[in-house]
């Protein structure tokens, strides 16, 4: 019987399989991974929203037309639309009706009945070719050639603001991500220190039996890397679940939605277990090597 058992024997791990601190540590690391994954999803969604908004803004321009003394505003707008329609890089130019122009200024002037007495400028909406859009100077030259006085708004002030806001969000998310990573590393380092002290007798026996510091450090490294990989998977699944709920409730990709998450975005959480294991392995290894040198 004992011979059979000996033949079937497989080496057990030098460190005890489970520790009563493992549950708490798994929860903390899983929570940090969950937050890190949410950060990644936020960056993706923000970038997509910004790109959508920027594309829409950069593919349009608005011309404010000022009629000449002997010209009606509607005629001036029609002439401007005609002048711009043939410019390379312009897909379509159309003069907006007076009602639409009035609707645009209504939020600032309120619902007043005698708007027709005000000299509301006429607008021309220009759709630009995304591949090679006409520049503001090209549009200005076309208007000038036809003797039309107009102000060109290419929305660049808005796109710059949006791009700047997106950059800020990306940097903030990146900073929070690094902070979470550092916190995870610190938690693992703390746990490694506690684990080493709790297993001091094991460490001493291995050391006195001829184990190298690296050999012992690797035991803790593998242990915490495995634990963190599991915690990372739990955090990733949690974040993917939240992302899926947002996708189902908010839809994806449309400008009207604040967080346009696509199903494919959920894949961004996939490397989380690997990254968590890597961070834990580095933190545990560095801590264990330093501590083993101190206590032995």
């Amino acid at each position: 019987m004992s011979d059979l058992l000996a033949r079937r024997w497989r080496p057990a791990t030098f460190l005890p399989e489970a520790d009563n601190r493992d549950g708490s540590l798994t929860f903390v690391v899983a929570t940090l991974c969950f937050l890190a994954c949410l950060m990644a999803l936020t960056v993706l969604a923000t970038n997509r929203a910004v790109n959508t908004w920027s594309d829409q803004l950069t593919s349009q321009a608005t011309i404010i037309v000022r009629p000449r003394a002997n010209e009606t505003p509607d005629l001036a707008a029609a002439r401007a639309a005609e002048a711009l329609a043939g410019v390379p890089g312009v897909i379509e130019a159309r003069a907006l009706e007076r009602e639409k122009a009035e609707a645009l200024v209504e939020p600032w002037l309120g619902d007043i009945t005698d708007l027709e007495d005000l000299p509301i400028p006429r607008l021309v909406a220009v759709d630009l070719d995304n591949a090679s859009p006409a520049t503001p100077s090209t549009l200005a030259a076309a208007l000038k050639a036809r003797g039309i006085d107009g102000i060109i708004d290419d929305h660049s002030i808005w796109t710059r603001d949006i791009a700047r806001s997106a950059d800020v969000i990306a940097w903030v998310c990146g900073g929070v991500f690094l902070l979470i990573t550092a916190a995870a590393g610190a938690v693992i380092a703390f746990a490694t220190r506690a684990g080493l002290l709790a297993r001091r007798e094991v460490v001493e026996v291995l050391h006195l039996t001829g184990a190298e510091n690296l050999f012992i450090a690797r035991l803790f490294q593998v242990r915490f890397a495995q634990l963190s990989a599991i915690a990372g998977a739990l955090g990733a699944v949690g974040a993917a679940g939240v992302g899926a709920v947002l996708r189902l409730t908010a839809g994806g990709g449309e400008l009207t939605h604040a967080i346009p998450i696509l199903w494919s975005d959920l894949l961004v959480v996939a490397p989380c277990p690997l990254v968590a294991a890597l961070v834990a392995a580095i933190a545990a290894r560095m801590t264990a090597e330093r501590m083993i040198s101190e206590i032995t």
């Binding site: 019987m1 080496p11 094991v202 050391h207």
Partner: protein, 241 residues
């Protein structure tokens, strides 16, 4: 098994010289009185010695110095030709693998089976389980743990733990075997078997050093004695009271 260049070089240069040499070694723990004072002795390869002395005489401290758990506060210790104070941290494990130790308090790993405990030195040395599985089983059977090899140490009796600690110390065929009170919890028959095991290992070339209170075993073996008295070493010839 991995062996450092330093250890390999030592094997060649030190083959016929002293395997262990203490030169005026003293040891003090913190601010307490000296545990060992001016100890000097040398062991030839393949020798067999007992260390005797009353409790607190310094037997365990002497053992700790030899298995490099503590460093001397004065003097020089040479193990396999290396000054242990000057051995690099990277070479120290390779020196320790050449020394088998039976600790007085056994120091078994409670979460590992008896089989796993006995195999610890071989696993640390990097051997594959297939190469030593049968040897470990045979050794455990020899020390009377054939039916206990897959139980955890906390379920073993005191004598069984001691035999397991002995099995772990000798399983890697160390060049020096240190045993601190190895028969303290054993009955007469098992003590005899263990002493026979140590003698067999000694005949195969292992240098053996046993710290013990068991004067009967010392007298029966006829081996030379290093007697410690309040930290001082008093040599005694074989059989001398």
């Amino acid at each position: 098994m991995g062996t450092s260049p330093l250890a390999r070089l030592s094997d060649k240069l030190f083959a016929a010289d002293d395997v262990l040499r203490f030169d005026n070694v003293s040891l003090t723990y913190g601010r307490r009185a000296e545990a060992l004072r001016g100890i000097s002795f040398a062991l030839k390869p393949g020798s067999f010695h007992f260390i005797t002395g009353a409790s607190g005489a310094g037997k365990s401290s002497l053992m700790k110095l030899i298995y490099m758990a503590v460093k001397p506060t004065a003097g020089k210790i040479e193990l396999f030709g290396h000054d242990v104070s000057k051995v690099s941290a990277g070479d120290l494990p390779f020196l320790r693998r050449r020394v088998g130790v039976v600790f007085q308090d056994f120091r078994l790993l409670d979460h590992l089976s008896a089989f796993d405990n006995a195999a610890v030195p071989l696993r640390i040395a990097g051997l594959k389980p297939e190469s030593y599985r049968n040897d470990v089983a045979e050794l455990l059977a020899w020390v009377g743990l054939k039916d206990r090899m897959h139980v955890l140490p906390p379920t073993l009796a005191g004598g069984e733990k001691q035999r397991l600690a002995i099995a772990r110390a000798v399983v890697g065929r160390p060049e020096i075997l240190l045993a601190d009170e190895p028969t303290g919890n054993l009955d007469a028959e098992m003590s005899e078997r263990i002493l026979k095991l140590f003698t067999q290992l000694n005949r195969l070339g292992t240098t053996v050093l046993i710290a013990t209170h068991d004067q009967t075993m010392v007298a029966r073996s006829g081996m030379p004695v290093l007697h410690l008295d309040a930290g001082h070493l008093i040599r005694r010839a074989a059989g001398e009271e």
